[in-house]
């Protein structure tokens, strides 16, 4: 099992969710986060006082998937979240040791 962590542009969240539903990925956790990468920040001006805003708002999606689904899921996210402009975000894939469904106590891929 793998845990996919995708940092994407906030307005791409619905596109990604829909695309994932189409390939049968049904569970996603979304968090509003802030961060920066190559896009860097931008400036804001209040009554002439200029502030550099380093951290830009992004959405972090966490998706647990079975090993045989991971490539398809990553490909789907990349396609749906891509605008071709700087700041589209990143995807991290990591090993997932265990998954437990709280209601039934099921474990492993059964619980995804």
């Amino acid at each position: 099992m793998k845990l996919i962590t995708a940092i994407i542009k906030p307005f791409k969240m619905d596109d990604v969710r829909e695309a994932l539903s189409e390939i049968g990925v049904a569970g996603v956790t979304a968090t509003e986060v802030k961060g920066f990468g190559r896009q860097k920040g931008h400036t804001e001006l209040y009554r002439g006082a200029e502030y550099v805003v380093d951290f830009l708002p992004k959405v972090k999606l966490e998706i647990a998937v079975a090993d045989n689904v991971v490539d398809k899921a990553v490909e789907t996210i990349v396609k749906a979240a891509n605008t071709g402009k700087i700041g589209d975000g990143k995807i991290f894939v990591s090993n997932l040791e265990q998954v437990i469904r709280i209601r039934t106590g099921e474990t492993g891929e059964e619980a995804i």
């Binding site: 001006l45 009554r47 002439g48 006082a49």
Partner: protein, 433 residues
């Protein structure tokens, strides 16, 4: 309504028997009374919640409640002080001291009756209407020391400032004091309120010092939606502020509202255009700041000038207050946190001076006093402004130093970092989870 009128007439008739020498200035005018009652509510609405929301949105989220709390507590404290003698020291006769301060005969309104009149409106209404102006003035100063003053010190400062600064200056101009005798024109408080509060805010900012991190750390408004909501309430409330100051429900009030509105709209657009031109984008904060500048500047002139005066005063307000803000903040690096001095203080000064020009009939105004030229009136306005700047500046400084000596003015550095909401009030404006 007819019954009330009859009842009132009976009272008047009966009273004339018992107090044969009493002279009634005039009869109760119900239309005027209704309008001043409405205006009273509008002006109170400017402070709570108008100014509170405007200021609350401008500070950082960790201090939002502290600012709301300051405005609210000032409203309560000033109301009590107003009853306890504030009103009396401005509007009752001061005898031999009349040039400087009123008397104490109306402290706690000992003999007030529902039938007592000031002009042709009940004294109760006049008392309340004037009180709402006394409330908003110290509340405006909050912007100068926001995000770093102790709550207890703020209460002491606002109370002492009301007594030693607001009461005498208001008496000089509106209570028949020396500036009134000189012929100063301040329709709704350009000098009494805006110059006065602006100077006090600047002095507060200097005495308290900068907020930790200013001007290097970003301190953007935490909630612009709140700022714009408050600004809208201020604009609407200002109809009562300037329109109500006519104390009549007629064309005078109508003209005051007309020029007020034009001044606000012109100030807003001017600020927006300058910002657009200089920084590339028109901002929401810019347009509402221009609105406040336009409104503050038209205030002293509102009952004396015509529509053309309103337009030009709004235009000048937008330009001058914009550059004043840049100079105070960028050049002098003074942390007048919410820009009270450059917007209200500077706006009040230019509005009060321009009143002399645009009140003249040749500039579309309603006319200066007979035999007074524009330059003579301008001189009187300048004297009143200068007197207010000196008095307000000196006493604000002395009061702050006195409080600093006894209980200190600022919160500790740790408390400032943590935010005043938690540190002083043990609550937070926003909760997540």
């Amino acid at each position: 309504m007819i019954r009330i009128n009859k009842h009132f007439m009976t009272l008047l008739f009966a009273a004339s028997f018992f107090i044969p020498k009493m002279v009634f200035a005039s009869e109760l005018n119900q239309a005027n009374t209704a309008w001043v009652l409405t205006s009273t509510a509008l002006v109170l609405f400017m402070t709570i919640p108008g100014l509170s929301l405007f200021y609350g949105g401008l500070v950082r989220s960790k201090n939002v409640l502290s600012v709301l709390m300051q405005c609210f507590a000032i409203t309560c404290v000033v109301s009590i002080l107003w009853l306890a003698g504030g009103y009396s020291l401005i509007f009752s006769d001061g005898g031999i001291w009349q040039d400087w301060i009123g008397g104490t005969s109306k402290a706690f309104l000992p003999h007030i009756n529902t039938t007592d009149l000031i002009g042709d409106i009940p004294e109760t209404v006049y008392f309340m209407f004037q009180m709402t102006f006394a409330i908003i003035t110290p509340a405006l100063i909050v912007g100068g020391f926001a995000e770093r003053m102790k709550f207890s010190s703020m209460l002491w400062f606002s109370s002492l400032w009301l007594i030693f600064v607001y009461l005498p200056i208001c008496h000089w101009i509106w209570g028949g004091g020396w500036l009134a005798k000189l012929g100063v024109m301040d329709f709704a408080g350009g000098i009494v309120i805006h110059v006065n509060a602006g100077v006090a805010a600047l002095v507060s900012a200097l005495v308290l010092g900068k907020r930790k991190g200013f001007p290097h750390v970003a301190m953007p408004p935490h909630n612009m939606t709140m700022v714009v909501t408050g600004a809208g309430m201020l604009w609407v409330g200002w109809f009562g502020f300037n329109g109500g100051s006519a104390l009549t429900s007629d064309g005078h009030a109508g003209m005051a509202i007309l020029v007020t509105h034009i001044g606000a709209a012109t100030g807003s657009l001017t600020w927006m255009i300058i910002e657009w031109y200089r920084f590339g984008k028109p901002s929401m904060l810019g347009i509402v700041t221009g609105m406040v500048a336009g409104l503050g500047t038209i205030t002293p002139a509102s009952g004396f000038v015509g529509p053309l005066g309103g337009f030009i005063i709004g235009l000048v307000a937008g330009v001058v207050c914009f550059y004043a803000t840049q100079i105070i903040k960028r050049k002098f690096k003074i942390d007048d946190s919410l820009d009270v001095f450059p917007v209200h203080g500077v706006g009040g000064v230019i509005g009060s001076l321009l009143t002399a020009v645009f009140a003249a009939t040749e500039f579309g105004g309603l006319g200066l006093s007979q035999g007074v030229s524009i330059s003579q009136q301008m001189g009187i306005q300048a004297i009143a402004i200068l007197a207010t700047v000196i008095w307000s500046g000196t006493f604000s400084y002395l009061i702050l130093k006195l409080i600093d000596n006894f209980i200190g003015l600022r919160v500790t550095s740790d408390e400032e970092v943590q935010g005043l909401d938690i540190a002083l009030h043990e609550e937070t404006g926003y909760h997540s989870l």
